[in-house]
């Protein structure tokens, strides 16, 4: 299995100047792509800023709403990467969570009301964990590279949702490939009246703080860190059952991504359909890396990328810039981070190169 060298928050290794240079470089590249695509750069950039933070509506009903699934999936990816697990399957785990939540809310909502909401969210997390369980088991039992197996699961989950919304979960008129709307009682309550911000954001914040506390202060967090940074030492000197710890973190990661899907369904879309996620699970990788895999910083990077997505949506509305441009920016962020870290660690380590 390929393991990551420990990634540290870029703030501790990269001088502020470098961070600033990266930011300027990314903005410059974005401008270059916009120019190449023949868009009005000034208008697009203005729309980006206004859509992300130009008004209280933009902040509470766009940026923070989009940040919610990004924080939860970002947390899922950060914990997995920290333990040396390359879970690229947050997208599929999120979709599974959303599908399970829809089934529970539609099935139990009419009789149980708000109780069904709680069950739906728990079931969504369980669904996400189950979706991660297969790659986790394949890795533990057969040594299958989890990068590939989790990506395969993303496609399988996508076709699974496609089947559900045209089959068992399709709305009664059978006209559209989507489920019926879930009962009002199973909607996540609104957090700030007059906005679209729902309780899911609070759940994401609590999850972040809990993960931060656990990884910092508890033995479980120590195990996670040591297994990720040096598995052989964890096994020989620490007496840790590395495969067991890895397996559990993998499931936890899947559960968080599944919860993101449940929260998105009960807080935003209220119905299941194929395009329920605009790639949150992939953006999550950028969220986690931007946070240096630090659970606390995931909150900040999730909001930042939520702002980027909200701004990009405005850019599409006002300047006709395709939404997919966001993934280019995310890729640039990831490349800038891994590139800068590799460059800096190479400089500090000379050419001796510590083993991975």
């Amino acid at each position: 299995m390929t393991r990551l060298a420990p990634l540290r928050p870029s703030a501790s290794v990269a001088p502020l100047v470098l961070t600033l240079a990266l930011a300027i470089g990314i903005v410059a590249l974005l401008a270059a792509i916009l120019t190449l695509g023949g868009f009005n750069v000034g208008r697009a950039m203005t729309a980006l800023v206004r859509g992300a933070g130009g008004s209280s509506y933009a902040i509470f009903s766009a940026t923070l709403v989009r940040a919610t699934p990004l924080i939860l999936t970002g947390l899922a990816v950060a914990l997995a990467f920290k333990a040396g697990i390359l879970n690229i399957g947050a997208e599929g785990q999120l979709l599974t969570g959303a599908a399970v939540a829809a089934a529970v809310a539609l099935g139990m909502g009419p009789s149980l009301g708000a109780g069904a909401l709680v069950i739906a969210l728990i079931a969504a997390a369980a669904g996400g964990a189950l979706c991660a369980a297969l790659p986790a088991w394949l890795q533990r039992r057969f040594g299958v590279l989890e990068v590939i197996s989790t990506i395969m699961m993303n496609f399988i989950a996508l076709y699974g949702v496609g089947y559900l919304v045209r089959g068992p979960l399709q709305e009664p008129t059978r006209a559209y490939p989507q489920s019926s709307a879930i009962p009002d009682a199973t909607h996540l309550p609104i957090l700030i009246p007059g906005t679209r911000l729902h309780v899911g954001f609070a759940i994401a914040v609590i999850a972040t703080l809990a993960a931060w506390y656990v990884t910092r202060n508890l033995a479980a967090g120590f195990r996670l860190r040591v297994v990720g940074s040096n598995p052989s030492a964890a096994a020989s000197a620490g007496g840790l059952d590395v495969p067991a710890v890895t397996f559990r973190v993998f499931l936890l990661s899947g559960a968080l991504a599944g919860l993101a899907g449940g929260v998105e369904l009960t807080g935003v879309t209220y119905a299941l359909y194929e395009n329920i996620s605009p790639g949150y699970g992939y953006t999550a990788i950028a969220v986690a890396l931007l946070a240096g895999l630090h659970p606390g910083l995931v909150l900040a990077s999730g909001i930042l990328l939520g702002a980027l997505e909200a701004g990009a949506a405005a850019m599409q509305r006002e300047a006709g810039v395709p939404l997919v441009l966001v993934s280019v920016v995310e890729a640039l962020i990831i490349l800038a981070i891994v590139g800068a870290q590799a460059f800096l660690s190479r400089r500090s380590a000379g050419s001796t190169g510590a083993g991975t």
């Binding site: 990506i151 399988i156 089947y163 395709p322 891994v338 590799a342």
Partner: protein, 306 residues
């Protein structure tokens, strides 16, 4: 029934062709110790390059565009992985994300968002005399577009290169024992960069053959996981060119199965057929990885020497 089977076999070879190109290239780079998870991005870049080239008027320009698109994206990967020594998996993931986004953005801005499929010149099947008249398999293997024949040649060429040339031996040494290779006067990073570029050229060919010989147009995200499937094919083919080609045929068959079953009429949901190649990938990885050994230094990033 025979007609349906012939059509199935033809579809198998046709859908296997892009997979085999990509997997053959990935074989070269993995034998040198570099796993390119960004292969998906390389293929979509090849697809887009082929579209832009073919828009220029000819199918040859399309092929050239595909190769250039693939090589350029693999060049970015090589720069990060061999020069900066960045993590291969994360760099590859970013490459895929970026290439999908960039091709989508450029496609919409250059060709509009109407969604109308662009018509471009495509590669027609060429029947090879005598061979294509062989029963059952003749038409499947010898009434194909020219890229498929090129692929047959490349399978042999890559085999010859890896096993019969000095450069091929050096490349394998880098993938197994980079320190020893370096002590023997080989420059691992340089050789790895070259291997990644070769995989970029072949990944670009994969994209070009997908656009020019299979689909006939470009759609966003049309690579649809083929890059990841190709990586699984490399493991199934045990890092050997001929094995990889046969494994690609298996996956071509898994994809073509949906046409066969659709023509026969079935009650099974069609999403099951769409998901089948991905399920097969999981099964194959589980069955295959228990017994075979990957190149020893695969995925390592602490290789020195430029």
């Amino acid at each position: 029934m025979t007609e349906a089977l012939t059509a199935f076999l033809e579809a198998t070879v046709r859908t296997a062709t892009p997979l085999a190109f990509a997997a053959l290239g990935e074989t070269v780079s993995e034998r040198a110790g570099v796993i390119n998870v960004g292969l998906e991005g390389v293929i979509i870049a090849g697809c887009f390059g082929a579209l832009v080239g073919a828009q220029g008027g000819s199918v040859e320009m399309g092929l050239l565009g595909g190769v250039l698109g693939g090589a350029a994206s693999a060049g970015v990967f090589a720069l990060f992985v061999t020069w900066l020594r960045a993590d291969q998996i994360i760099t590859g993931t970013a490459l895929t994300l970026g290439a999908l986004g960039l091709t989508g953005t450029l496609y919409r801005s250059l060709f509009g968002t109407t969604g109308a499929a662009l018509t471009i010149p495509t590669l027609r099947p060429i029947a090879i005399p005598v061979l294509s008249d062989l029963p059952l398999f003749g038409a499947a293997f010898f009434r194909q577009p020219v890229v498929t024949y090129l692929l047959y040649l490349l399978v042999g060429l890559v085999w010859w290169f890896l096993t019969r040339t000095h450069a091929g031996l050096a490349l394998r040494a880098v993938g197994e024992q980079p320190e020893a290779a370096e002590a023997a006067g080989i420059r691992p990073a340089r050789l790895q960069a070259a291997a990644v570029l070769v995989s970029g050229v072949l990944g670009g060919m994969a994209g070009a053959s997908l656009v020019l010989a299979q689909v006939g147009t470009f759609t966003e995200g049309m690579s649809a996981g083929r890059g990841f499937i190709a990586i699984a094919i490399v493991a199934l083919g045990r890092w050997r060119p001929l094995g990889v080609a046969l494994a690609a045929l298996l996956f071509g068959g898994a994809t073509a199965l949906q046409y066969l079953l659709q023509s026969m009429g079935t009650d099974l949901p069609y999403q099951l057929f769409l998901a089948f190649p991905y399920i097969l990938t999981l099964v194959v990885l589980a069955a295959g990885s228990a017994r075979v050994r990957a190149p020893a230094a695969l995925g390592r990033r602490n290789i020195t020497g430029h």
